[in-house]
Symmetry: C2
Subunit: 342 residues, 2 copies
């Protein structure tokens, strides 16, 4: 079985971003914003996007299951307040819940959280519980920079984040550390900002100990772990200078990276550097990088092809990356898969 | 000949940072700050640091010349105002000038610029002219984020930066795009912040055209180009999505990366991805990452060893990386080297 650990709902009908724009405009204008009652999307509209885009690629490439969460760039934790962030988050999570209901053998849900810049993420606990207990979601996306590009939250190792980590451990769901859209014009959302977000968060986890307090916490660093593998020597040396252990020891059974690295040499390099036990297959389908690599004639984000062709990997390695590690990092998917129809 | 394109004066006597701390404290207290007259460092004090640390490694490793600039993390463009930034910059550049005078066959100078957060870098032109025309410096460091960690300056492709680029072209000196110390607690100066700075600036140069306006401008992206080589497929695909050409075409004869990547696989990977004509040998000696790699018994920053051992490179490739490209990117070093004593 091949499990893709990182995808967002990016084939939504245009009425969804239009609705969101109206919410934000109303919020900024100080007038009542539209609520979930003002947004009606039929199952057929959902199917039209999923079937023609996301599921089309998923089936063509032979990916069996995708862990599916709301569009990351649209979370917009810097845009509104707690009340509206919660409303938008619940709308977004409900879409994912509906999609999982329509396609139970293709998608497994993961939650957006109603974070707000400057607000301690205690306010996310109830929504995470709701998504896990009522919707059967198996993970969540945690935004390390709810400011949308200014990196002004406490490091992930700060007690500020502990309440949400406690809840994640209690529910046995991992968090993907994923920023949202960028409002800082120096950076571009899906290129420099995403990668900077990954690098920033990963280094926070290297420089101080979080996992002796949360030994079962599992965090996924998307986009191949940002810059960490390429600069492994730099970060390893700086860890030593700060009295910290080997990076592989820090990662242990707590930090995982995905395979959203969009060229064959990058994937081969990732496999050379990061232990196989810490790598999760993922494509971010359908997402950040659209289009064909002119050298290969394949989509840039066809990471399954790269992993299949990475020369160093054994069959056992590939089985871990494609399936075994996902079952370990997202323990709740085992129950979902056991009860799915054949 | 082996030319190291990236090193800072990091073996200064303790009285230098002590003096700088007094300047900043006085500035913040609103009282007159100490000037260059209040800082007296003898040649012997300078030699003590250079001989025992920076030149020791340089000679041990067989590096013939180093392009040497003030300590990057101490530039502190977010800390004071134009007047004090200029005073500190001139003090810092004078140290480099003295060191080049003491060691004319080992070091070649590059300038710090008196940038200030929020101030258009027109104010840097006179100091750059002074350093090039009076001191014989061959390059400069340009800070893309004078805020010290909040990335709130216009992108490098914005006309805001044009006056300093015009002067760099006129003087035929390249700029290394290098951030300074980080005051944003989410990031660590020499790890996540440096790499994020490189990634942010590089993507700015990918996403919009600067070099048709400045065809002779040469910019160096330090620390192996941040995250760009590892995520080459992502950035290449995003460039295409935005109507931009191949990354190699964008880089052309304008964008160069250095070899400050501190492990053998990282250097090998860099050589696989970035054209040899766009790579400059550098170590950042003595600097960000101190200590031995326990696997090899060598310092993490011994990048000369990595380049020598990178299997893909031919002798002609190594000659470009070690010398030829530096002569091309820093045209003024040719004159310096021609007049140096044997």
């Amino acid at each position: 079985m091949i499990i893709d650990a990182h995808a967002h709902y990016t084939s939504e009908p245009k009425s969804v971003p239009d609705f969101r724009a109206k919410q934000i405009k109303a919020f900024n204008d100080g007038v009542p914003w539209p609520t979930r009652k003002d947004l009606t999307i039929s199952d057929d509209e959902i199917r039209a996007g999923i079937d023609s885009i996301q599921l089309k690629y998923q089936h063509e490439r032979g990916i069996d299951r995708t862990i599916f969460s709301p569009r990351a760039s649209a979370m917009g934790h810097h845009l509104t307040d707690e009340k509206l962030s919660l409303e938008w988050t619940q709308i977004s999570n409900e879409f994912v819940h509906r999609i999982v209901g329509l396609y139970p053998n293709d998608f497994i849900g993961a939650a957006q959280l109603p974070q707000v810049v400057g607000v301690r993420p205690d306010n996310c606990i109830r929504e995470l519980e709701r998504c896990v207990n009522e919707y059967g979601f198996v993970g969540c996306n945690l935004n390390p920079d709810p400011s949308g590009g200014f990196f002004n939250s406490p490091p992930l190792t700060d007690p500020w984040w502990y309440p949400i980590f406690e809840k994640m451990c209690e529910l046995d769901v991992p968090g993907m550390i994923h920023v949202s859209g960028c409002c800082n014009p120096s950076q571009y959302t899906t290129s420099s900002y995403y990668i900077n977000g990954d690098t920033t968060a990963f280094v926070q986890l290297i420089m101080a100990d979080l996992f002796s307090k949360f030994p079962t916490l599992k965090l996924i660093m998307p986009h191949g772990g940002g810059a960490i593998p390429y600069h492994w020597g730099r970060f390893r040396g700086i860890a030593f200078m700060n009295g910290r252990p080997e990076l592989t020891e820090i990662m242990g059974n707590n930090i995982f990276v995905d395979t959203c690295v969009y060229h064959q040499p990058g994937i081969d390099f990732l496999m050379d550097i990061v232990p196989v036990d810490n790598i999760l297959f993922a494509s971010e389908l359908w997402g950040a990088v659209k289009g064909l690599n002119p050298d290969t004639g394949r989509e840039f984000d066809d990471t399954k092809h790269y992993v299949e062709n990475s020369p160093k990997l054994t069959a056992a390695d590939r089985a871990k990356i494609f399936e075994g590690n996902a079952r370990k990092v997202f323990p709740r998917i085992n129950k979902v898969l056991a009860t799915a129809k054949a």
